[in-house]
Symmetry: none
Subunit: 194 residues, 4 copies
DNA sequence: CATGAATGAGGGTTCATTCAT
DNA sequence: GATGAATGAACCCTCATTCAT
């Protein structure tokens, strides 16, 4: 049934969100399957119908958000825009995730403390693909002489570091909206390339 | 005995280092007291001779490195230098910690996942003092019209975020020395203020 | 399910009995959760499905037997009987518990060695209610001039002390049945009031 | 050295008293060697110079008080007095211990929760000797037809139970002095034999 | 599909005991 | 004689996981 599959897919997304919420609040190890189930008004046992085990649940969760973000960022990279505009768009998209998907985003920041072996490897590869998109955009700008820098990796790491830090201090009740922050950051960070 | 006290103090530092190492590698929750003890060629029980419990051990560890860094950074802020030079020095010092005290540094990045209640409060207060030193230097530069920016907090957060991210990618076997990185970062980050 | 609840209630009673047995034999501190679980042919972990922790298990156990005995004794006090007959009945009931619920009874004798704070307070309050029933009966007898004594509290404490000591020496293989003992005790103890 | 031995003996008595104090307050299992040492302003290790181990310490403590009480009670039994006066004296002596050596006394009430095997056997034998002194006095009274009862054991157990219960409620800040209590108890308990 | 119940492995912590100094 | 330090066994408790119903 297509309808059924859609329903299941929707349910899984709900589960991801709840899982992310709990994991972000408590950390992976302190978040129990019971906590996650309770957030979903389910019993612990029911989760095992949908997922093999805790790591599997969180891994899929992790993978989903990463894949989504990767898609968006790759789409931006392939647009017919100037490197500067691409980078601006990429920065704003990243910050949008950092703020508006705070829970998911927060959860994936340090995968080394959650996963080992294969899962970790898969996650790290996808992250590498993600960061390499930024590298490509920056190098494109360097080639076109839009950007002036001798060290694209360093710049990329500054940019990502600065953005990933946002979720440690951002609060919706703070004085700045997500858009303002994205605007300010992209303005400032692009300065690094001029 | 003063000699005895010195010995104990030295031993405690060793313990801090080992604890930080294990916690950084595995995360607070996965690092067992046994792991930490093994790293020190001790038994688990011996740790409890020196510390009340796991949280106490890690908290003291946490507090030590934070206090040290705070002292250094405050000393820089009180020097008789131009804001630009102060900021440069502060950035280089911070990066020096991030790289050369990687284990300690890494451990303290997200205290929310380790501590709760009083310990967390104490840590967060000290962190606030740390970040406010950066704010002061930046504002000093703005007042002297050495720096051009309308939003010192934002700049500070970009700077700290960029620096704190270093430990996620730095490796001593990478192509760049700690000094090079510090140099590059301070050059680039100061651009944000020009 | 009402049926399920009944089952659970029954199981809990079983657990109380086993817990009391082990605690009486070994004392609270030496009785391990594993001991109690083994007595029930369960694993340790299963106990934690029903009770929050060891103290909780023993407290509930404690509270149950105390409440039951209190109910019986209060019922006797409210009967339409002479104080003498009431006291006789109360004594016999108490001794019946002391002997036939030896394990439960024994466990609750010195709550100070088991509980602290709130739990202890609750237990002590209920015990006070229990002893005050005896006081009421005795005072009723004094008022009706059935009993001759100037110090009802002292009498009550002698009576309770004498009865509570039974479980230190009673053995089902001894020469006296529970009924004989109860008979003898009530005869003798009532002498104190004549 | 006789002087030295005396000193040591005195020290040991001090230790017994401290140990009894701690054990009475916390119970045998909750009283740690450290607690006892702290009470004596010693370190834990030093206790092991005087005693083989915890059980040994408490056993000796136990044995001392029991032997003392036994001596006193046996002396009374061998006096040239009427059984009635002997029993009165014995009761008063026992109550004096119960109240004025509350800590020691309390500790020895339920040896089954402290000792096992040989130590327990020794204690129980000495207790048997103690109770048999009461039996002897009562039987003497029966033979001389001073006392009227058919069941001396039962009487003895009532008497001892009543007296041993005193320490659960006695407080120096209560309204009755030790002497008053002893007086009242001996009056009342002797009634059981008339 | 979902639940209640149970398991078992593992971690934090305590503490009697030992021992070099 | 005494101390600081260390050990190791045992205990309470948690929780991912399983499974009968």
């Amino acid at each position: 049934m297509n309808l059924r599959k859609q329903k299941v897919a929707k349910k899984r997304k709900e589960m991801f969100r709840s899982a992310a919420k709990v994991v972000t609040n408590k950390g992976y190890d302190r978040a129990t399957m019971e906590d996650i189930a309770a957030e979903l008004l389910m019993t612990k046992g029911a989760l095992y119908y949908y997922f093999d085990n805790k790591e599997d649940l969180i891994f899929q969760c992790h993978d989903l958000i990463l894949s989504e973000a990767l898609n968006e960022i790759e789409e931006i990279a392939s647009m017919d825009l100037s490197p500067e505009l691409k980078l601006e768009k990429a920065i704003k998209t990243h910050i949008d995730y950092a703020i508006n998907e705070k829970e998911m985003f927060n959860m994936i920041l340090v995968p080394e403390h959650t996963f080992v072996d294969d899962h970790l490897k898969l996650i790290l590869e996808k992250r590498k693909r993600y960061t390499s998109v930024f590298d490509r955009i920056i190098e494109e700008g360097i080639n076109k002489e839009d950007f002036k820098t001798s060290d694209s990796k360093m710049i990329r790491m500054i940019i990502l570091g600065a953005m990933n830090w946002i979720q440690t201090w951002y609060s919706p009740r703070g004085g700045r909206s997500a858009e303002e922050i994205a605007e300010t950051y992209s303005d400032l960070l692009l300065k690094l390339l001029s």
